[in-house]
Symmetry: C2
Subunit: 184 residues, 2 copies
């Protein structure tokens, strides 16, 4: 693959795409989430060459997102499962899927439904605020400069235009907690 | 770009990636969200060739995700803004960013912070259940066959392994509502 690496960018979206955003990778993660584990089944599901699938699985494994589990020794056959790091990617992918159901579905019929076992109901993935629990709408979110930002490739203009996060709105008891807000 | 199109797959994640998942596209959407609108500023921010940026902006415009707004006529200069469809992609991208803050940040210092204007606080994007509001965890979500599923390229194995959504758990008053759950 001849592509610019996003790894060194000071942007957590770029870093996420760097390890999980190559063409096919999100669909491989989808398959692992659904429970397709064997190399040959992944290949059959996606209709992808063994070479590309191997490359992607190697990258996902190297990034600690998937784990290889041999399930047969002679001849050796591999299966793959998501790690905790990989399982943590599933909710954002389900949020992207919900967008596709709403905005990129030619017939408005969702190909996949999701049951939330905690409440037992069919649901969609929504993106909400970690502080107030309300739905996040783009117009109501203000991006601010974070402590890890830098003026470098991939964020050259962003770095100079974002306002620093002022403690003003969270003065008093919440002051020092604001930077922790982005770390779960 | 020589790549398989995901457009015809019976999968809303694949369809989302098809219109917004090419290399660079999510970062262009990030920039438009942040307020970088001019072609030359996008190019400076990302360190990307004019050719690649034009291609991506054309694809995003064609998909109805971004809109071109000329801001100068002689010589003509273009700027771009997100449409409603594009703004709806921002929350899922913020959820991917939150994953990067947590799992792909070498120094654990978030490059960007987000203030939710509705509650006034610094927050992260969380993915929650549209029905009970609880956090979504991969292990607590069961994928089921949806009405738009098909056994075709990209979902050959998935289509035969997913159980159909049974009305059992939502019998009675909620029965017919279950398919609507995925349409907002």
């Amino acid at each position: 693959m001849q592509r610019t690496s996003f790894r060194d960018m000071h942007c957590s979206l770029a870093r996420t795409l760097d390890v999980a955003g190559e063409w096919w990778s999100p669909l491989i993660l989808r398959d692992l989430f659904v429970g397709i584990a064997r190399f040959d089944e992944l290949q059959e599901d996606l209709g992808i060459s063994a070479k590309v699938l191997s490359e992607r699985l190697r990258a996902l494994t190297r990034a600690g997102i998937a784990e290889r589990k041999p399930y047969q020794s002679r001849p050796r056959r591999d299966s793959y499962v998501l790690t905790a790091k990989g399982r943590a990617l599933v909710p954002p992918l389900l949020a992207l899927m919900a967008w596709g159901d709403r905005w990129a579905s030619p017939d408005r019929r969702p190909p996949m439904l999701l049951r939330h076992e905690r409440c037992g109901r069919l649901m969609t993935a929504q993106v909400t605020c970690s502080r107030c629990g309300g739905d996040i709408v783009a117009d109501e979110v203000t991006p601010l400069a974070g402590p890890g930002g830098a003026r470098a490739a991939g964020t050259r203009v962003i770095a100079k235009m974002l306002a620093p996060a002022q403690p003003v709105r969270e003065a008093g008891s919440r002051g020092p907690a604001r930077h922790r807000a982005t770390r779960r």
